[in-house]
């Protein structure tokens, strides 16, 4: 068995992606309300209220600021939840991976397919948010369409990171550590709801070493029609987290399945 330093993407991975998409299609009807309802709730519920306090200090309408943050955070949440609960369900109680591995598929194909699927969900969910945000007048430029591929990339990154947790989990119970100790703090402190200038300097430094703020800083100027700065840095941090996450998760899952 080879040990790739980079994720390997073979055509075979799309069989896994297609499998999951087929399940998603079956559930699409019931999830459409959530897809549009949740961002609407956030934007209306927080946007008008918080806008009164924060709005004045920004170079864009608070609704645009908030919509950008929520886009990034939801890409993280959507991909993470699928990579935690969805992947664990297929790997452990359903034993779906055992069935897949009896075919020509290998663990790398399964993981690549899963991560692509998680990112696809981030993209679908994000598209819903973008539509709602546009309807609420929060989008001020066509450059906002560039947000879509970025949401996909953010989905890849956070899916790979969450897979580390999944690869080590013995039950669903361990996932609440990840959601409360990793996802929640990232969402509250990465400039999703308010500018990080409000935070102590040290904290800001730490935040730049973490992935979510880079997603926010790519998405926000695109939504507002402002120039994007440090593109290469943001992309590099997201990619580095994604590749590292994949690599660790792959080794753990191989140990777990190939016993």
């Amino acid at each position: 068995m080879d040990t790739p330093s980079l994720p390997r993407l073979r055509h075979a991975a799309f069989a896994i992606w297609a499998r999951n998409m087929l399940v998603l299609r079956k559930l699409m009807g019931s999830s459409i309300v959530i897809n549009f309802g949740e961002p609407l709730l956030y934007l209306l519920g927080l946007g008008y209220g918080l806008g009164l306090f924060i709005g004045g200090q920004l170079d864009m309408p608070y609704m645009t600021f908030l919509a950008s943050g929520i886009l990034a955070a939801s890409a993280m949440n959507t991909a993470s939840f699928e990579a935690l609960f969805g992947v664990f369900t297929r790997m452990v109680p359903q034993k779906s991976y055992d069935a897949m591995l009896a075919s020509p598929l290998e663990i790398q194909d399964i993981l690549a397919g899963e991560i692509f699927y998680c990112a696809t969900k981030s993209l679908i969910h994000g598209t819903g948010i973008l539509v709602v945000a546009t309807a609420l007048g929060a989008v001020s430029s066509w450059s906002a369409l560039w947000v879509l591929p970025i949401l996909f990339l953010v989905g890849l990154t956070f899916a790979a990171l969450a897979l580390i947790m999944t690869s080590m989990a013995s039950s669903y119970a361990s996932f609440s550590y990840y959601t409360t100790l990793v996802m929640m703090p990232l969402m509250l402190m990465s400039g999703v709801f308010y500018p990080i200038a409000a935070l102590p300097e040290l904290m800001q430094k730490i935040l730049y070493g973490l992935p979510l703020i880079h997603a926010v800083q790519l998405i926000r100027p695109l939504m507002a029609g402002l120039p994007v700065t440090d593109v290469a840095l943001h992309l590099a941090v997201l990619a580095a987290y994604g590749v590292t996450g994949y690599w660790i998760a792959f080794r753990q899952i191989r140990k777990r399945l190939h016993v």
């Binding site: 069989a15 297609a18 499998r19 087929l22 055992d98 069935a99 897949m100 009896a102 075919s103 020509p104």
Partner: protein
């Protein structure tokens, strides 16, 4: 002819524990080959090793002449697998399970659609094509798992306890299908705890225990080689039975629980003795593979 499966000196450890020790196994093409062994003998582990699903500690495995696990993907593309525990996809219906599994083999939807219909017919699930997996009985799930294993038209079909937990009707139906597959020239490798199943289906078999092959041959050979042709199972209070059977010449006697098994080439004197002891019940039958199995693997419980 070159064997389809060629395993030599296979050793597998789980930590300190040796599960397969120096195991040799050759399966010629076109036969139905059985692997018998008590619980924990290492049957499933050996099958997983063959498919490249578990690393081995020592030895070589060739399937279709190709080395495993190096040739894993190409070999698995030519194999069908029925695992010991069902792992059908609960998110899908019967027919979707087959379609989705076909994709794992890189088969396109158009190519397999008529094959899927044929397979549903083969395992008599045509009218359940759109049923969710959760609504199937154990026997239906097993039949679907067999159909799924045939989706890629495999040359080698590996079945890990294909009929465990199924009723006699389903077992017979599955036997008939497995024989049909063998008639088509495919090679079958199956494990089972049912000696009648092995006797009926298998051209050749091995008996393994503690990860080692104890015996190899056709069911008839093995019976001939290891046990006397006739058996009397005598039931009654252990001491009483032992006293009656104490000086019967030419009989080999084994006791398991409250039953004494008397193996003999000629049961006449035994029968005459037992006629005089009406308080003992007995059963006179020809010996079978189960007698061989018990003789070779002993009577202690495993696991």
């Amino acid at each position: 002819m070159k064997p389809v499966v060629d395993i030599r000196g296979l050793t597998k450890r789980f930590g300190e524990r040796i599960v397969l020790r120096d195991l040799d196994l050759q399966v010629p093409p076109g036969v139905c080959f059985g692997v018998l062994g008590p619980n924990g003998a290492g049957k499933t582990t050996a099958l997983r090793a063959m498919l490249g699903l578990t690393p081995v500690s020592d030895g070589t495995i060739h399937i279709f002449g190709q080395p495993m696990p190096a040739a894993g993907r190409t070999v698995r593309a030519r194999c069908g697998v029925v695992p010991q525990a069902d792992n059908l996809d609960p998110d899908f219906t019967v027919i979707e399970n087959l379609r989705v599994y076909a994709r794992y083999f890189g088969l396109s939807r158009i190519d397999v659609e008529s094959r899927i219909q044929a397979l549903l017919g083969f395992v008599e699930l045509t009218d359940r094509a759109d049923s969710p997996i959760a609504t199937l009985s154990g026997g239906m799930k097993r039949r679907l798992t067999i159909a799924r294993a045939l989706i890629n038209q495999p040359e080698l079909i590996i079945l890990d306890e294909p009929t465990t937990g199924l009723d006699p009707q389903v077992r017979r139906m599955i036997w008939a299908r497995l024989r049909a597959l063998r008639e088509e020239g495919r090679t079958l490798l199956l494990t089972t705890h049912y000696m009648d199943e092995a006797e009926r289906l298998c051209d050749q078999l091995v008996i393994v225990d503690h990860g080692r092959v104890l015996e190899h041959g056709s069911p008839r050979d093995l019976i001939h080689r290891h046990v006397e042709p006739e058996v009397l199972e005598v039931r009654g209070a252990a001491e009483r039975t032992a006293a009656v059977l104490v000086d019967i010449p030419g009989a080999r006697i084994e006791q398991i629980g409250d039953i004494h098994y008397c193996y003999t080439r000629d049961a006449r004197s035994l029968l005459a003795t037992l006629e005089q002891h009406r308080d003992l019940t007995f059963l006179h039958r020809p010996s079978n593979l189960e007698d061989v199995f018990l003789k070779l693997t002993g009577h202690e419980l495993r696991d």
